[in-house]
Symmetry: C2
Subunit: 186 residues, 2 copies
DNA sequence: CTTGAATGAGATGTTAAAGTATCATACATT
DNA sequence: AATGTATGATACTTTAACATCTCATTCAAG
């Protein structure tokens, strides 16, 4: 059952690395309930395992993003659904936040760049629809949405918020901010 | 000049670790323009250096936060000034984002908890003043402000935004969100 | 029951980085 | 000028984790 084993290793790695981003191969193997040697039978090296893991997370994010944007009729709705979907898939890529060694891999860094640039495209389109404020730099809109998504994933991971709740709150915050608007003179 | 040397090492470490969070002692020493042995003369170990660095970053953040809140007359204004000040001090603690080994240190993790809980206090007080929306969970307000601060620090570090611009945008986003509000039916 | 593939356990080799030790040099203080 | 302290360079030891290898065991297929 080679496939099932690889899957178990990958799942274990996600858990182990989410808990501590410098987890050793021993810890990953233990988390996956698999012998240490078996990890090296399926992946050429620790770095290779991390790459596979990152590719998987990227593919997963791409998939849910495509599905979300496919059924949207406006760019703004696509942005909303994509945001929601990406937050929902947080568990699969959250370990990447602190995975320092993966930032150097051009493949991974490139994929992240691409996703950010796709987000920028959505934001630009939504701005043309009059939804996104024109007076805020595009770079900040992208950066802050990204930041809110990470914050939501973290909150879900820490158990501070439910997943569905977090998905809704991100869009709510993008849309309305956090203030009542009652006291702008502050 | 023991003090000046320690300072140089700490500054170098901030730079080296910001560039790559798993920087070796060699890289840190090189960045600080200091011999490798000198690092170990001033700090008992790499871990000790990181602890000192984290303590410094925490103290710096506390200092600017205190200064900011001291001259505020309302909780909301304190929140605004503190947010701005913390973004301004981003360079000094940004390396912590990916410093996995520091999360395990109870002293560091505890300080972060404390700062989050101080932020929560400010948010609660500002909410009593009618500024922060009462319909959003406190945990999310805190988490998203934290997320926006990190996003701003990252954007400044990457050169995407100027520091002052980023400081203003964080509060602007908290206050008003990113949408025009013109198309809430989306 | 036999066979073969995958696994677990653990011994062993390998390497990169941490940490230590030494010595010559520069520099400030007296 | 003499002295003491901090530093840089370098060689060395130690350690932790990666990676490989071997062998007994399990288990499914025939």
């Amino acid at each position: 059952m080679a496939l099932a084993t690889e899957e178990r290793i990958l799942e274990g790695a996600v858990r182990a690395l989410s808990a501590s981003p410098n987890a050793t191969v021993d810890q990953i193997a233990a988390e996956a309930r698999v012998g240490r040697a078996t990890v090296f039978r399926h992946f050429e090296s620790r770095a290779g395992l991390l790459r596979a893991l990152a590719r998987r997370a990227i593919a997963q994010t791409d998939r849910v993003t495509r599905q979300a944007t496919a059924r949207a009729c406006t760019a703004t709705d696509a942005l909303r659904l994509a945001t929601k979907a990406v937050v929902g898939a947080g568990e699969s890529y959250r370990f990447l936040e602190a995975a320092a060694e993966l930032r150097d891999e051009p493949e991974i860094a490139g994929a992240y760049e691409r996703q950010m640039s796709e987000l920028a495209d959505l934001v630009r389109a939504s701005r043309r629809e009059g939804f996104i404020r024109p007076d805020v730099p595009l770079a900040w809109v992208v950066a802050s949405i990204d930041g809110l998504i990470w914050a939501a994933c973290r909150a879900v991971g820490e158990g501070e918020l439910g997943r569905v709740q977090a998905q809704d709150l991100v869009w709510d915050t993008i849309t309305s901010g956090l203030s009542t608007g009652a006291a702008k003179e502050f």
